[in-house]
Amino acid sequence: MSEVLLQIDGKEVRATEGASILEAACAADVFIPTLCHHEKLEPHGGCRLCMVEVEEHGRSKLVVSCIYPAANDQVVTTRSEQVDRIRKMILELLLAHAPDSETLLELGREYGADRNRFDKEASFCINCGLCVRYCAEVKKADAVGFLDRGTRRDISFIPEIAARECWQCKECFPLCPTSALQAAYVLVSSLAFPGARHQAPSEC
């Protein structure tokens, strides 16, 4: 496969054709913050936190680095006044939904985000889709999915599948940036299959 040559934060970086800017940056040890990216999963482009500035064909624009392909002669800036401002805003909006998420608070400190800027609307899930995509793409179990759309979009376990699959797996738990997922699981298990603990093969 052919290679492309680009510049990221002043570094000359080689990347395989078709790789995203984020992948190219990772390979060159340049850090770009992400929330919905996971190396085992297809790029999603949901959180927009990985936004960077790219100068290409004499024009500069903002792109979502996890889904934007690296190409020859791009000049990428991963932090600038504009990029930082956008990340700060995204974090403030997400913090209104999950004000105690350690992941968000840590990123918030980096970008000077004020967790109280917007009225709290604690839905906890920030719709990063990591749990849903991990369950579908890696585990092929489809135990958890999205419901509804727009501002009402939320994750939900399918009780019949969750009862069968989740107790032994739980691999999605550490992926969730807000713990909303664990809460949803506890809720569905206590409502729909409270005996899961006893049915599951014993752990010792």
């Binding site: 849903v132 999915g145 419901l147 759309r149 399918i158």
Partner: protein, 150 residues
């Protein structure tokens, strides 16, 4: 809807996963809702995961996961109908059926919804019952019309 009827509908579409939305629309149209049994059957026959089906079934307003009435009454409360007296029409329908928007009666006869513009503002105030559109309504007309539905 029994699972044989669900199967018949699925077979009309050759069990094609790409026909999922069409199949769900057909079930919704005939049964006036998507029951858990029907959805599980569709999932099984088409080989589409329940998470995906639930996402679609909750994404589109055309689908309902609770039983709807045999007749769907939509009262337009868009701007044009509003100024032409949609409020009065809505009030009289609420009185006649005992329903508030979003509700269905116990006999599963009517479901009442408000909508925002059905695209014929010149006819306002407008009410749709199932696929039929009634325009230039007075409160009294509305009640008479509803009485003609079984």
């Amino acid at each position: 809807m029994d699972s044989e009827r669900v199967d018949q509908i699925i077979e009309e579409y050759q069990c094609e996963a790409s026909a999922l939305i069409q199949i769900l629309l057909r079930i919704q149209e005939e049964a006036h809702w998507l029951s858990s049994n029907a959805l599980h059957r569709v999932s099984e026959r088409l080989g589409v995961s329940m998470t995906r089906i639930m996402h679609i079934a909750t994404f589109y307003k055309a689908f309902s996961l609770v039983p709807k009435g045999r007749h769907e009454v939509h009262i337009c409360v868009g701007t044009a109908c509003h100024v032409r007296g949609a409020e009065r029409v809505l009030d009289s329908v609420e009185d006649a059926t005992g329903l508030k928007p979003g509700e269905t009666d116990l006999d599963l006869k009517f479901s009442l919804e408000t909508v925002n513009c059905v695209g014929c503002c010149a006819l306002g105030p407008v009410m749709q019952v199932d696929k039929k559109t009634y325009g230039k309504l007075s409160a009294a007309d509305t009640v008479n019309l509803l009485q003609s539905y079984e």
